[in-house]
Structure formats: structure tokens, C-alpha cells
């Protein structure tokens, strides 16, 4: 009769054999964090106090495609997250009521899609506003794989009391998985 220790020894041997003949496969996750760029958006001139503010629109190219495509070259099932989208000013941005951001890509086919928005609720930093991303991950992947055009439309009741130069910072994280069986 085989005792317990010998049974364990035999089981270990079988496990060792199974490991040795393990199937060929790879299942890895690729994570590319903090792909960032900054752009000068434009200038909003000082406004008269009594003059109603007409919405202003700025349009700029943001090209993260090279870095995003590098992940896409080796991975499938990509997901993307915009971790930072903020507008900064050289003077206070308290005068802004809300901002809408639409995304276009450089091809003529897709219509603009809502990308992000900001609503002034009286909190936050004087010189920076952080926008809320509205676009879902799968659309983000499609848009970030090509040079992206973002249209920023700024709404306010009254304009800034002094000349304000605006800039935008955008950062994205991209992940993908790589699965292969031999």
C-alpha cells in the first residue's frame, strides 16, 4: 500500500511533467500611460463690463496618434482614457460659464462628436479649469489613432476683465492586450 507521502510525491511528479509540456501561449497587457501634449488655444481680449459676451470658438490639432498607434501595432482590444483635459489661462478663468468640446478627425466622413464639457460651479482653481470627458473608450481609441481636431466653444455672460491667453493640456492612457496561442 502506498503511503500518503508517496502519493504526494507522485502528484508532484505529474505536476512537474504537466509544466514541462505546457502549451505555447502569450497573454499580456500593454499599458502606455501619460501620452500628453500641450497647445496654445488662443487669446480672449478684455471685455467691456456692460457688453454681453459672444461665445468664442478655438480649433486646434492634437496629434497623439504616433504613440497610440505604437500600442495598436502590438496589441488588440485597445482601450483609451483621457486622464487630463484642462484649459489654463494667464489670468483668472472665473468669468467662464461653460465650455463644450467637440472632436473631429481629419477625414471628412464622421460628424463631430461631443468630446468633453465644463460647467462653472464656482469651485476649483482660478487659472485652470478641468473638463469632464464625455466620449466613450471605444470612440476615444478611434479618434486618438489619427490626428484629432478639438473645437473648444467658450460661453460666458461677461468676458474677462483683462487680456487672457488660453492653453490646453491633454493626456491619455492607452491599454491593449496581446493574445497568441501556438
Amino acid at each position: 500500500m502506498i503511503n500518503m507521502k508517496k502519493q504526494f510525491a507522485i502528484l508532484f511528479s505529474i505536476a512537474a511533467l504537466l509544466s514541462l509540456v505546457s502549451f505555447g501561449c502569450a497573454n499580456v497587457t500593454v499599458d502606455a500611460p501619460d501620452i500628453c501634449t500641450s497647445q496654445d488655444l488662443g487669446v480672449v481680449p478684455a471685455a467691456e463690463v456692460s457688453t454681453p459676451f459672444e461665445p468664442v470658438m478655438f480649433e486646434h490639432n492634437f496629434d497623439l496618434s504616433e504613440a497610440v498607434s505604437k500600442v495598436g501595432d502590438v496589441a488588440d482590444d485597445m482601450t483609451a482614457t483621457v486622464t487630463v483635459l484642462k484649459v489654463s489661462g494667464t489670468t483668472s478663468l472665473r468669468w467662464i460659464d461653460h465650455i463644450t468640446v467637440e472632436a473631429h478627425d481629419n477625414s471628412s466622413v464622421p460628424s463631430p462628436k461631443m468630446f468633453a464639457s465644463y460647467q462653472n460651479d464656482g469651485t476649483g482653481d482660478d487659472f485652470t479649469v478641468t473638463l469632464k470627458i464625455l466620449m466613450n473608450s471605444s470612440d476615444l481609441v478611434q479618434y486618438l489613432r489619427r490626428p484629432l481636431v478639438l473645437s473648444f466653444e467658450i460661453f460666458a455672460t461677461t468676458g474677462p476683465s483683462s487680456f487672457n491667453r488660453l492653453s490646453v493640456d491633454i493626456c491619455a492612457d492607452v491599454q491593449g492586450t496581446f493574445n497568441k496561442s501556438l
Binding site: F8, A9, F12, S13, A32, I35
Partner: protein, 186 residues
């Protein structure tokens, strides 16, 4: 390079096998050393201990993968050594954990660096007595977590137009990976 490393391993193995063929087999505590090559560990030199039994051993090694130095710890179970201590073939389970430092391709410090940690869940074969000279052939799945450094260089080299990038990382399972080499204990 690989051929030179293999030749060195083989020569050392032959010398050790000749020297220790008559080693006594009744020691309670055995220590020795090992040399092996494999993926992802690279070339390794290890200090090996059999703590009072020959069916379990621990080794602590230094590795080199052509990019950077690293370290590796291993716990090996050899059930055949328990069932038949003098039998010259064994089936082993070897769990290895290792780390390598961040390194770049020699002569290309402008390129991104890479470093990784890994866990090898190996099974394998032992050729030779467990308490003397033996050759090991092991394979199995590896969980690897690789991180890069200075990845910004690739973007700068390609005219990145004001884009900054963090350092990508890769993690997951790869199978099979392997290691082969010898150990000598006495």
C-alpha cells in the same frame, strides 16, 4: 555569444562531474553551486542549498541578460529524490522569482531601457543524482512584468511634435519559457 556560454557551461559541467563523482552521499546539509541559461532569466550563477533533505533545495543566484544584472531565488522540489534517492533521473517542480535592473542595449544608451520581474512556474527533468552533480532541463509558464525607461527618446527621435509620453509597461503570462544548466552539491 550563446555558443560560448553553452560551451563554458558544458566544460564546467564535465569538470565538476569528474571531480564529484565519488562524493559522499550521507551528508545532512549540502551546499553547492549551479550555472544555467534560460529565458527570461538569462545566464545565471547560483548558490544552492539542500537543507538536510535532497528532495527540496533553495538557490540564490545572480543573473545577466545582456542588458543588466539581476537576481533570482528558486525553490525546487524533487519527489523522485524522496522515493528513490539514488535514482539518477528525477522530475522536479521549480518555482523561481527574479528581477533584472533597467538596462539598454550596450552602446545604445539613447534608446529606451527595459527591466522586468518574473515568476517561473517550472517543471522539469533532473539527469544525475540529486545529491551530487546533475543537469536540469526545466520549462513552464512565466508571469512577467516589464517596465521601460526613457521611452520619450523614441518619440523625440521620430519628431514627436511636443508630445510627451510616459514609460509603457507590459505584464502577463508567457509559455513556455525555459532554463537549463547544472548544479553541483556536496
Amino acid at each position: 555569444m550563446v555558443r560560448k556560454v553553452c560551451s563554458a557551461l558544458l566544460m564546467t559541467a564535465i569538470i565538476c562531474a569528474t571531480s564529484y563523482a565519488s562524493a559522499e552521499e550521507d551528508h545532512k546539509f549540502r551546499a553547492g553551486f549551479g550555472m544555467d541559461i534560460g529565458v527570461p532569466s538569462g545566464a545565471a550563477v547560483s548558490f544552492v542549498v539542500h537543507p538536510k533533505v535532497d528532495w527540496a533545495s533553495v538557490s540564490l543566484g545572480m543573473t545577466y541578460n545582456a542588458l543588466a544584472l539581476g537576481g533570482r531565488v528558486s525553490l525546487k522540489l524533487d519527489p523522485i529524490a524522496y522515493l528513490a534517492p539514488r535514482f539518477p533521473i528525477g522530475l522536479i517542480l521549480d518555482e523561481q522569482g527574479g528581477i533584472t535592473g533597467q538596462g539598454t542595449i550596450p552602446g545604445h544608451s539613447d534608446l529606451p531601457s527595459i527591466g522586468y520581474t518574473y515568476l517561473n512556474l517550472y517543471g522539469g527533468l533532473r539527469f544525475g543524482k540529486p545529491n551530487n552533480f546533475h543537469w536540469l532541463l526545466e520549462a513552464g509558464p512565466t508571469y512577467i512584468n516589464a517596465t521601460s525607461g526613457n521611452f520619450q527618446a523614441t518619440v523625440n527621435n521620430n519628431g514627436g511634435q511636443g508630445v510627451t509620453v510616459g514609460n509603457p509597461s507590459v505584464s502577463g503570462w508567457i509559455a513556455p519559457t525555459f532554463v537549463t544548466g547544472f548544479e553541483v552539491v556536496w
